[in-house]
Amino acid sequence: AQTVTQSQPEMSVQEAETVTLSCTYDTSESDYYLFWYKQPPSRQMILVIRQEAYKQQNATENRFSVNFQKAAKSFSLKISDSQLGDAAMYFCAYRSGDGTASKLTFGTGTRLQVTL
């Protein structure tokens, strides 16, 4: 079974600064997908960014980018120019690419605080 580990329960960043959230995973599969979800206080799960394992190029979505290290099984999220609205729980998630239903395996989350 796949596991996802987020070793930082909480992180803090000043507004306009950059922060990196860590995620590692364990899998024996070669084909899979990785995701970062944001969960604000409203509880709504919002997809931030996604990465295909077979793509070496790191995904980027505006201020959000990932550092995908397949050999190290690491998938960190970098938030640039942090904004107050970025404050939320962030979850790293794994999905197998084996053609079965798109079940997600989540990490335990990192709570991000953004300070003035």
């Binding site: 709504q44 979850f91 239903a101 079940k103 395996t105 335990t108 989350g109």
Partner: protein
């Protein structure tokens, strides 16, 4: 489009009671999922469905039942509620399995069993 809707938003149950959490999506998605999120934890898959009439167990199915009679609806049934089922429950749906088919989540139902 409303997306994925869940009812109720909050519920308190007594031990041994039963209830059904409702989930409806209006995006004509084939795949639907139920997750639970315990305090300070990530989401764990309870059950999922790949289409009407087809359901399968996820990681933590004990104490729950599901049915999928229509594409739109995927109710989750709790029989004989236990304190261990106190959690936030999320329903999600997706059109397919590829990377571009992201899962859309409902707003969640907070359930307390006392």
């Amino acid at each position: 489009n409303a997306g994925v809707t869940q009812t109720p938003k909050f519920r308190i149950l007594k031990i041994g009671q039963s209830m059904t959490l409702q989930c409806t999506q209006d995006m004509n998605h084939n795949y639907m999922y139920w997750y639970r999120q315990d305090p300070g934890m990530g989401l764990k898959l309870i059950y999922y469905s790949v289409g009407a009439g087809i359901t399968d167990k996820g990681e933590v199915p004990n104490g729950y039942n599901v049915s999928r009679s229509t594409t739109e609806d995927f109710p989750l049934r709790l029989e004989l509620a236990a304190p261990s089922q106190t959690s936030v429950y999320f329903c999600a749906s997706s059109y397919g399995q590829g990377l571009t088919y992201e899962q859309y989540f409902g707003p969640g139902t907070r359930l307390t069993v006392t």
